[in-house]
Amino acid sequence: MAAIEVRHLYKSFTQKGMTVEALSDINLTVEQGDIYGIIGMSGAGKSTLVRCFNYLERPTDGQVLIEGRELGSLTEKELRVQRSEIAMIFQNFNLLMQKNVLDNICFPMRLSGKKKSEARQRARELLAMVGLAEKERAYPAQLSGGQKQRVAIARALACEPKILLCDEATSALDPQTTAAILELLREINRSLGITIIIITHQMSVIREVCNRVAIIERGVLVENGRVEEIFSHPKSRAARELILRDGPGGAGEGDRPVLPERMSGGKKLRIVFSENSAFEPLIANMILKFGAPVNILRADTKNVGGVAKGEMILGLPEDGHLQIDIEKYLKEKGLEIEEVTGDVE
């Protein structure tokens, strides 16, 4: 059974007579064990969407099913129990500032009625798991961002959730810390089998850890599917834009790629290689064959779901016939090509 199923979900906010359609007709399915990414620009509706997953936000219309149970049909009390099985972590960590690390982790367990001594023991185990055993007496204000997020993760795991929702959990962290936190999430997914939802506006985060992704634009789900698939063949404009903005290298190295040259004018092709070895000889041969220069506007390899993918954007010569020949040549070599339109930066 699907961990989360969303059917025809709508959410609108009314403020001072103005209605904002934050989400419209969202449909998606998150399978058990997925690391499911939800990506979109600021204001796209990502937070609203995950907050519907545990009914912190009540949808205006549509259904949310958690392991087949429709949240809308639950009573207030049942809903609270259900929520305790869906943990959540946040961009701003949201730890209790007046409680020390240990008591923060104990908090959800105490809420659900666990005895203090048992809660403490479990909290210590979790703290060791996230690598902060020596900080149990510290207060959040004395921790770094990465450490706070580790505490938040330990707290999220305290009640043995089946699902972990992460709303921009790494957005306030530097690249190294981001990578470490993502690694921890992957580890949690692998060893505990917890389904993870990751909300982000950084494609690099999706690429590093997610197996599936949904792209949200202005409240509409424009594309979703397997991460490799979307990286190789993005269908929507939003997806292509996000992939282009995704910098080379590891997660969190910023949103902006270092372009050798600003892309403008002329015809541009985007090529995706599954194997790096095919990379250089092919382009070199092509240049030799046509005796015309092509501009490599961008080339890098990305780790997509553990598979190395090469991506290259070529700026073609002005000559129209030559362009057609080059496209034909690349297709013959069995490459997926696609025209990149617009001024990209």
């Binding site: 545990n54 007046q98 908090f107």
Partner: protein, 219 residues
């Protein structure tokens, strides 16, 4: 004039002032704390918005707070007599003090609770916390520094009010200051009572602020 009698009178004044101030603060909180919590919770951006309850408490608090204390004191005389049996002396003064202090305290509590980070409340709710748990285990705990500062300020204000009640025979140091300083022109005794009031005020402030900062773990 600094005979035993005067010293005893001053000591009794201190005792009465402390009695009125502390009792009124405690009872004021018994009423004002729940009222402040309700105000924070039922406000538009509270955890359980309720326009009717909010408006009702809001208007009540504003109404009482807009009446100058001295006038409230006099207006309440029949009510005070009904509750305590007489309208003068320290115990009687507690009645108007509480009525004046409760809405003041409620506002203090309301503003302290509103300072609590919405994200932390959301985190607690995502763990399945009920509204009651959010209030008692998150809001009141996270706001405790601010609540103690508020209590310290309230205590100071009530101390001032208790002295004002002296003008109508309320007892305590204020009463002495009025009787000797104003009625009998014995300025020295008045000065001493004023100094004693200032010292009491300072002690409350220092103790309150120390406690607040001791309990603050945000630094």
């Amino acid at each position: 004039m600094w005979n035993n009698q005067v010293i005893i009178m001053l000591l009794e004044g201190i005792r009465d002032t402390l009695y009125m101030t502390l009792m009124s603060t405690v009872i004021g909180y018994v009423i004002g704390l729940p009222m402040g919590i309700l105000l924070a919770v039922t406000d538009r951006d509270g955890i359980r918005p309720n326009a009717v309850i909010y408006k009702l408490l809001d208007v009540t608090a504003n109404l009482i707070r807009s009446v100058p204390f001295l006038i409230l004191l006099i207006v309440l005389i029949p009510f005070t007599r009904f509750v305590v049996g007489k309208s003068y002396g320290p115990t009687a003064t507690i009645v108007p003090l509480v009525i004046a202090a409760a809405p003041y305290i409620a506002r203090m509590v309301e503003s302290s609770l509103k300072e609590v980070d919405a994200g932390v409340i959301e985190a607690a709710r995502s763990m399945g916390a009920s509204d009651f748990a959010v209030i008692t285990r998150v809001m009141l705990v996270e706001a405790r520094t601010s609540l103690i500062v508020g209590a310290t300020i309230s205590l100071g204000t009530i101390l001032g009010y208790s002295a004002m009640a002296g003008t109508v025979g309320g007892g305590g140091l204020g009463d002495i200051a009025i009787r000797y300083g104003y009625t009998r022109w014995q300025t020295d005794i008045m000065v001493v009572t004023v100094i004693l009031l200032v010292i009491l005020f300072q002690i409350f402030q220092t103790a309150g602020m120390k406690l607040a900062s001791h309990l603050d773990k945000r630094k």
